[in-house]
Amino acid sequence: MSTVDNLSESDRLELLQGTLEVLILRSLKLRPNHAYGISQFLQQQSDSEFQVDNGSLYPALQRLLQREWISAQWKSSPNGRRARYYTLTPSGRKQLLSATSKWQRFALAMAKILESEG
């Protein structure tokens, strides 16, 4: 049930537990966006490595709303369509900062081990 099935099953990258929410926060860092925009952003920024499943995206948005890390308003998009725009809240921004540093350390540590010799 992924968005676009143009990658074969084995090549697709599964999102790790808990990563989607951080990525959503990151996608909202520069400007508010709607669900479709977020999924596009994630796909483009990852060079289509990540396929965001709506069945995961929407519940994740709901969870973020409940934690009040993001807020939502209905607005008109540049092409005149009304859409629900999500905005990062101050506490969401804080959460993004800490999560970013955590994930960076995690990725670095992973890389160190995987690339180590012997």
Binding site: H34, G37, R81
Partner: protein, 886 residues
Amino acid sequence: MRPWWSKIKRALGTRRRLVNELQQEIEAHLQFLIDENLEQGMSPEEARIAARRAFGNQTTVRERSYQSWQFPSLELLLQDTRYAIRGILRAPLFSLIVIVTLALGIGGNAAIFSVVNAVLRHPAGVDHPQQVAVLHSYYSKFTLDIPYVSAPVEGTAASLKNMIETAALERPTSFNLLRDGVAEHVPAVRVSSTWFQVFGAQPILGRTFTTEEDQPNAAPVVVLSYGFWQRAFGGASDAIGQTLLLDGRPYRVLGVMRSDFAWPRRFEAWVPIALPPSDFSPDQFFNEFFQAVVRLRPGVSVQQLNAALSARMWGDLRRLGGAPYATNSGWSVYANPLTEFAAGSLRKPLYVLMAVVALVLLIAAANVAGLFLARSSARSKEFAIQMALGASTGRMIRQILLETLLLALVAFIAGVAAGPATGRLLLRMVPNHLAAGFTVHMGPELIAFAAAAAALTLLISGFGPAYAIVRRREPLSLREGETHSTASGGKQRLRGAFVIAEVSAAFVLLVGTGLFLESLLALQRVDLGFNPRGVMTALVAYAGEEFEKSQSRQASFVGGVVDRLAAQPGVRAAAAIEPLPFDPENIRSCSFAIAGRPAGPADPGPHSQLAFTTPGYLNVMRIPLVAGRWFTSMDNASSQPVAVIDERLAGRYWANQSPIGQHISFGCGWPPQPALVIGVVKTIRISSLEEDTSDGMRYYPFAQGSDFMATFLVRTDGAPMAMASTMNEAVTLTNASQAVASVTSLETLVSDSLGGRRLIVWMLAAFAGLALMLAMIGIYGLISYLTAQRTQEVGIRMALGAQRSSVLRLILGGALTRVAIGLGIGLTFSFVAFLLLRHEFANIETGSFASFGAATIVLLLLGALAGSIPAARAASINPVQALRRE
């Protein structure tokens, strides 16, 4: 907290909005995809289909989003609750039985707890009762333990300022209130000004008295009880400042206490005790004329106080010179909590009853568990359908627990509602002198307790069926008519265990009933040494101080009333005595001296109870004279002072000689004018059937003594209470300013002394009956179910040539095996309980053998009866039909 709160907020109010919003958002999302597809040149139709495909499963998106709002579990719960209610209503009889059983268990517990709470924890009208303690004197040498102390002892206790907030003294008195020419008796007490502070009691009107008003020559003032205020002033608030003529003296009314304040009990007026300093002098150390109460400082325990009391008392005694006497008489002072003191002889019975109702609760829970198990067998097809439709084990257990919960909830409400009412009824069954001063009411503690009881039953009774479902690993069969040739193992074993538990608990209750009943019967047969049947008693407290102090006035009044009574038709004999045997609050004893046997200064000397009486006493009481003579009307103020002793005293101090002709002093701090011992009478029980508390008795004639009250006795052939008006008449005709204070039959007084024990017997009998009934239902239900399950098996057996009698034996054996196991367990528990209770309740071993035997027989018989109906049904099975059903 925040996310949780927002979840609730969403869940409660905004669900519809959220659903709409999500739907709109999904549609907006689709629109973006459609726009994109149109740009790529698709036809509108194609674009929409492609967008939908690209979006994925909308239902999944929606449902997963809902889940993050926590709706599903709430919704499921609601759904399950609706389903549970339907399940309950579908089997109304079953549900009713469950509710009634649980309500009996919970209600019984709530009732007893409400009484325990009122009696043992919260005596009415006392603030923080656990901080209040009562001082007692104990003479180990005389085995004398009295809730009275002397004024100097109270003074010493009060000096422990770091432990005691306030201390107060009390001494009963009595007034005759003269209103419209009619004398009315007012039971009153003299108390220290600090009395009310000790109990933390506030007046609802006016104030209590001050230290200045509590001085020997202060103007007389009085604080009224609520009841007295209502009676005398009709509840008028201008009563404050008015005067009441008590014993001819004008007392200014200072205040009115709240209706629930009744310490000491059954008294209606408080006046200052106004003790002169001489009462606190060291030579008064061993004259226990007062009740003393103290309020402990917060955090100080009674044990700590007792340790400090003992140290301080002995310090004072050594300094003041009373130590040798204290050592020789084994004297000590101790405090016990007011809650314990106030509960008196109700305390132990209440603990027993608490244990009993707990047992009943367990039986009820086990029974309901058994019922549920039986029902779950009957509903196995329903469960199978649910499971086939995808219900998880967890959800099914929740479903069953919900049903149990709802039933328990109804039972809980019924139990809590009925509890205090039943508790009040229970207190009414208790003799008045035990129950006075306690009010049973609903409170958060009661509700919490009942809720705990309900939760316990819920756990026990819901556990069984839930366990049965968890155990059922094999797929459930839906096939119509499916039966197993033999009953399935685990579940029936569990049901059997519940039946066994019920039987053993019922056994314990039965044995308990037997033990207490036997002990009660034995106690009722105890030889009192007198015959209380047909004796009516009436207490008169002399009105007027000049009356109290005038020996001749008292003598002529007592003599006059007795003569008048004796002349009445229907009166066999009349007399006066003080104190009256079995009057719960009136026992007098003191040390005395025997002429010619000088005691050392530290020797406590002989000690005994004593009473004033009149020549007719032996005839009224039917107490036999053993030696010498009894009093006659010739023994009066102008003749030789005389005394009669009882056999116990004679045996103790004149073991090898005749006491007649000896001289004894009165003691009790009275002038040491010796009296001549002129006779010996039989020993009687003076206060209790349970134990012989008398350490010997001295009788003195009223005509030679002085007291502040007298109890008149009349022996009649008819109903004793019919003499009440005769009694009133005799008193008022002899002296119009005197009034009868209380009228009872002697038999009632004797019987009331067993009130606590009788309460246990009644309650135990009721609960044991209930337990038996429940156990029988349990056995019957289990055996009939098992029998139904084994229909084919029995059919096969009979087809193969088994006799009906052997089938009967087979089924009945199943029932009796469980009863026997239950009996074994019950026997062990009963025996432990018996060993524990033996030291707490006199005479309990009287009927031990009979009780254990009878309980065994009753349970075996009832077990056989409960099992025989299904057994007979099994024995009448037609093998052909039974096998055809397979």
